[in-house]
């Protein structure tokens, strides 16, 4: 019990429930926005990559380089243009989702058996209709697996954005660091992990509903 009391000061939590909820909401909003924008940006990249192999390797290289740049450095590199704003955090986070989203979607679409595509064509489907009605549903598990990875990664990375003032629950962690007071640190970390797990489970369920024939792992 002594250990628990040292780490968790429940009265602090009770006094700061507004702050905690605000940070949590900010975390959810920023994560959702980053992944949503990531999907929007990734879609044309996937379509281009699907058609031209050379384009795919360019897309993979560029998003791979983005993915490799440490988050704090990427935030810092954007500062001269977008300053200490939400936009800076969002651009960097969107950048990190792209590699995961594009690679999973392209791999998923490429795994659709050629016979299936031919069957669709034989039934008179245009290539666009085949993509939307046949290939996309078949690739859905891979695509959603990518979205799940992107969400979990973004939830974690976002905490670092607290260093530029827009880090959601990361601010609680930073507060714990600056004051060497563990309670906000514990609250921020536990909520962040919980958020990642909940988002992951929800997306898995969505996948099962959208592609019930696949079972889903």
């Amino acid at each position: 019990m002594l250990f628990a009391e040292q780490w968790m000061d429940w009265s602090w939590v009770a006094d700061h429930d507004d702050l905690i909820l605000r940070r949590l909401r900010e975390h959810v909003e920023l994560t959702a926005a980053a992944v949503a924008i990531g999907i929007v940006v990734a879609t044309p990249l996937v379509l281009v990559s699907r058609r031209w192999r050379a384009a795919y390797s360019v897309v993979l290289t560029v998003t791979g380089v983005l993915y490799t740049i440490p988050s704090l450095a990427l935030f810092a590199l954007l500062l001269p243009w977008t300053g200490l704003t939400r936009t800076t955090a969002l651009i960097a986070l969107v950048g990190y989702t792209l590699l995961i989203l594009v690679r999973n979607a392209v791999t998923g679409l490429a795994a659709v058996p050629a016979e299936v595509r031919e069957a669709a064509r034989g039934m008179g489907y245009t290539s666009r209709r085949s993509l939307i009605a046949v290939e996309l549903p078949l690739a859905l598990p891979a695509i959603i697996a990518g979205i799940r990875l992107a969400v979990v990664t973004t939830v974690g990375l976002l905490t670092v954005a607290s260093l530029i003032g827009h880090g959601g629950l990361g601010h609680l962690i930073l507060d714990g660091l600056n004051r060497r007071f563990p309670t906000p640190l514990v609250v921020g970390s536990v909520l962040s992990v919980t958020l990642a797990v909940i988002a992951d489970v929800l997306l898995l369920q969505m996948q099962r509903r959208l592609a019930p024939w696949q079972g889903g792992r």
Partner: protein
């Protein structure tokens, strides 16, 4: 593009390279912190991952530990480490080791456990002992995956070592954090460039190492794909 000129001037100024908060010293701290973290993580994770993979035991733990690790922000782990240790290198080292272990372990497990049954049976049929099987068959065939895990972990360790400055471990993050505090955009930008380059260099070097270590017979297919852990 006034900024870029200032950044060039920053790099041109020798004072920014020397001393205890100069680029050379901080780069050294950054690299040595990352190297030690990877050495310790490999020393812990490789034997466990390879053994479990060889015995094909503990799959649930070995496979899921990387997923769990991903959900825990390394920033939080770093600050947690500071709560139980004093300011300096140790909390950063502990956090980086904890960050790297799951990635290395999961890939080592998946690599070894994924070796085809007929390959293992053939080796057994040739009279190999368990140890010989691991050393001569399972290890060589699993190198692409094992190395992919080490590479992914190393790149993340180099990235997260940037945050080490928050707990007094020094490294290149020091310049970024200092610049953020003093609103020195030029210093922030220049340091961020160096950090980004360092991460890219680590990625490329380990990619080359991965390719060179992969036995010739299985080069080409798995060696290119890289990080299944991501």
């Amino acid at each position: 593009m006034e900024l870029l000129g200032d950044v060039v001037a920053w790099f041109d100024d020798r004072a920014n390279w020397r001393g205890s908060s100069g680029l050379v010293h901080l780069l050294g701290e950054h690299v040595s912190l990352s190297l030690w973290a990877m050495l310790i993580a490999c020393a812990v994770a490789l034997p466990i991952g390879l053994t479990l993979g060889h015995l094909r035991r503990g799959e649930v733990v070995a496979v899921n530990i990387a997923n769990i690790g991903r959900a825990v922000p390394s920033f939080a782990v770093l600050v947690f480490a500071l709560q139980v240790m004093s300011i300096g290198r140790e909390p950063a080292l502990v956090a980086l080791v904890l960050l790297a272990i799951p990635l290395v372990l999961t890939n080592a497990y998946v690599g070894v456990a994924g070796v085809a049954d007929d390959q293992r049976e053939a080796a057994r049929g040739m009279g190999m002992t368990g140890w010989q099987l691991l050393r001569r068959v399972e290890l060589p065939s699993s190198i692409p995956l094992v190395m992919a895990g080490i590479r992914t972990a190393a790149v993340q360790v180099v990235a997260t070592a940037t945050l080490g400055a928050l707990v007094g471990a020094g490294g290149l993050g020091l310049l970024i954090l200092r610049g953020l505090r003093t609103r020195d955009h030029v210093e922030v930008f220049a340091a961020a460039l160096v950090v980004a380059l360092l991460a890219l260099v680590a990625e490329v070097l380990l990619g080359v190492a991965q390719r060179l270590l992969t036995p010739r017979g299985i080069r080409g297919d798995a060696a290119r794909g890289g990080d299944p852990a991501i």
